[in-house]
Structures are given as C-alpha cells and as structure tokens.
C-alpha cells in the first residue's frame, strides 16, 4: 500500500530461504543420526574403491542402516552414471 514502495528495491524474503535450507539440512542430518559412527568412513572408502573402476559422482554412494524388526540391515546403493560405463582414468 505504501506509495513510496516502488522507489526502493524490495528486500528479498530471506526468512523463506532460511526455512528451506534448514528443512533440507535437518532432514539430511536426521536421516544419518543414530547410525553407527563408522558409516561416513565406510562410505568414503567404498566411494574410493568404486571410483577406481567407474567414474561416479561423490554422492552416488549411499550407505544406510535400516531397522527391520529384530535385525539391522546395512543398505548400500550406488548410482552409476548414465550412458556407456567407462573405466576411470586408466588406473
């Protein structure tokens, strides 16, 4: 309603940006919480091994521990790049 509003640049709604960033990071951190401490290390080493053979993205390897009734299941998933698979760097 302010008649002078058009004269100044409207500041961005940074509260919305904060909310969206937090939603993502909090969901991500909650997903990894409670898992064994070795998971990030395991994930890093697996990634290094896979990358010796296939050139995958750093976030292509997912390691999760899921509870299935009485026992826990270590779940690994590796997303391979699209297109013909090429060996990485001739290593």
């Amino acid at each position: 309603m302010r008649i002078l509003d058009f004269l100044r640049a409207r500041p961005k709604n940074t509260a919305n940006i904060a909310r969206e960033r937090l939603r993502i990071i909090v969901a991500q951190e909650r997903a990894t919480r409670g898992g064994p401490d070795y998971l990030p290390l395991l994930r890093g080493e697996l990634l290094a091994v896979i990358r010796k053979y296939v050139n995958v993205d750093p976030d292509a390897v997912q390691v999760n521990v899921e509870r299935d009734g009485e026992h826990e299941v270590l779940e690994l998933s590796v997303a391979l790049p699209e297109g013909p698979v090429k060996a990485a760097g001739g290593a």
Binding site: L4, D5, T14, I25, V26, E29, R30
Partner: protein
C-alpha cells in the same frame, strides 16, 4: 515427585541462562520449591543473572567432591524463600562433574522435597551439556529464529532422544518444549526472520513460549533481577506465560504479531 527440567540449546548466547533464571523464578512464584543449577563449570553466570554472585561460598563441584554439603552450597533467593541457586565452579574444569556425583545431588534434592530442579546447560555438546540433560524428565530447548541456532537445536533433540537416562532405560520419549527467544515480530512480518510456525515445523516440537526481543532483558541481567520480575516488560510477561504453560495451563501466545500501523505510516512507510 521431583521433576528435572533441562534448559538447553547447543548454540551459545541464545538465552539459556536468562531463561533458566526466569523459569525457575516463575515456578517458585507459583509456590513450588525450586532449585536451579548452573552446569557451566568454569564459566559460571547463573549467579550473576539471579543476582546472588556475592553470596556464593560453595558450589556444585564442591558438593560433588564432598567438600561441602548440599545445604551449605544452596543459595536461597532474596525474594522467594522456596527458590535456591546452586552455582557452578569458577576454577575447576568441566571434568570436575561426574555422572555419579550429579545423580547423587539430584537424589538429595528429591529427598529434600524439591518440586522442580532446573538444569541450566552450558553451550556445546560436551560433558557439561551431556550431564545437564542426562537425568532430565523434560527439556526446554531455547532457540533463536536464526539458522545456526535451529540446526544446533535439532542436534540437541537427537541427543535428548538417545543420550539420556530415559532413553537408555527405554522409558519413552522425553517431553520436549520449544522456547523461542529474541523474537522480533516486525522483522518476521517483513520476511527477514523465520516465524514461530517455521521453527516449530522444522524442529517438530511444540512451542512452550515466544519471548520477544526486548531491551528489558539486558536491563534485567544488568541489575541481577530475572526479567520475569519485570511485570511491565513484554519479555517478563512472555516468560510468565511460558511458566504457566510449563505448569500445565492453557495460555494463548502473545507478542507474536507486529503492532498494527496507523493510516499515515501505511501510506508513507516508516
């Protein structure tokens, strides 16, 4: 039955000690026998906020190490004789606290007929913070509407549900309350600050209270009188409302909307 409430946050400087002082004072004003304990060993401050810094002779660590009795170390509040402060040690480090010792002090307070024990947690997630939350029945998580505070609080929520006696015993989830401090409704309305609803949704715990940003909070800590005593300040009133909710009353949130602007201001801005 003694109820142990931890006031925690993860991040420093969000208002844990200010909140502990006002919640403890408010519960005492409602007639309960209350002890408030400073777990920030090495960086004691609760005594300053409560205005009893010159009456500290023995502290929490002295009691834990059997250098003083609990009776000697508890400092009676100037205004309410059913409110006591247990100061942290200035000279020892955080390793001076032990789980066994903290448990023993809490048991003794329970045997003395205390209704509430408020544990004022240090910042961080190390030993002092861990021991402040370990024996708690309920948690008040103090949050500023700001990204790092919200994220750290979520980390604390994770610890509350895994690293406490309740969690270890499988006694079911601890009751957790969100206390939003330094809230500025004008900035929320302008889209510069996350709203109560935003923070509540991200963290997923119910709101105990919203304390508006207020000059009276600094004035209160300057003079060593918990801000809840200042009935004329909106922060004091908001703390009183929070205490009522903590005690089970159904009180509507206040001071969360920006004041309505008059016709002149709406036309010409501020």
């Amino acid at each position: 039955m003694t109820e142990i409430i931890v006031v925690t946050s993860g991040k420093g400087g969000v208002g844990k000690t200010t909140s502990s002082a006002s919640l403890a004072t408010g519960l005492a004003r409602r007639g309960y026998k209350v002890a408030v304990i400073d777990f920030d060993v090495g960086l004691r401050n609760l005594d300053l906020i409560m205005g009893c810094e010159r009456r500290v002779v023995y502290d929490f660590v002295n009691v834990i190490h059997n250098e003083a009795t609990l009776k000697q170390a508890l400092i009676r509040d100037k205004r309410f004789d059913n409110l006591y402060v247990l100061a942290a040690s200035q000279t020892r480090d955080k390793d001076a606290l032990t789980q066994e010792g903290v448990g023993r002090v809490l048991d003794e307070l329970a045997a003395d007929g205390f209704d509430f024990v408020i544990c004022d947690s240090p910042a961080g997630i190390e030993k002092g913070a861990h021991l402040a939350m370990y024996f708690a029945d309920r948690a008040v998580v103090v949050v500023n509407p700001e990204v790092s505070s919200v994220r750290d609080s979520d980390r604390i929520l994770g610890l509350l549900s895994s690293k406490t006696r309740r969690a270890e015993r499988g006694d079911g989830p601890m009751k957790q309350h969100l206390l939003l401090t330094r809230y500025n409704p004008v900035r929320v309305e302008a889209g510069e600050m996350m709203s109560v609803k935003d923070v509540e949704e991200i963290l997923g715990i119910p709101v105990l209270g919203v304390i508006p940003e207020s000059e009276q909070v600094l004035a209160a800590s300057n003079s060593g009188v918990p801000v809840i005593h200042d009935a004329g300040s909106i922060a004091g009133q908001a703390y009183a409302d929070s205490v009522a909710r903590l005690d089970g009353d159904d009180v509507e949130l206040r001071f969360i909307d920006a004041p309505k602007k008059g016709f002149f201001k709406r036309m010409f801005g501020t």
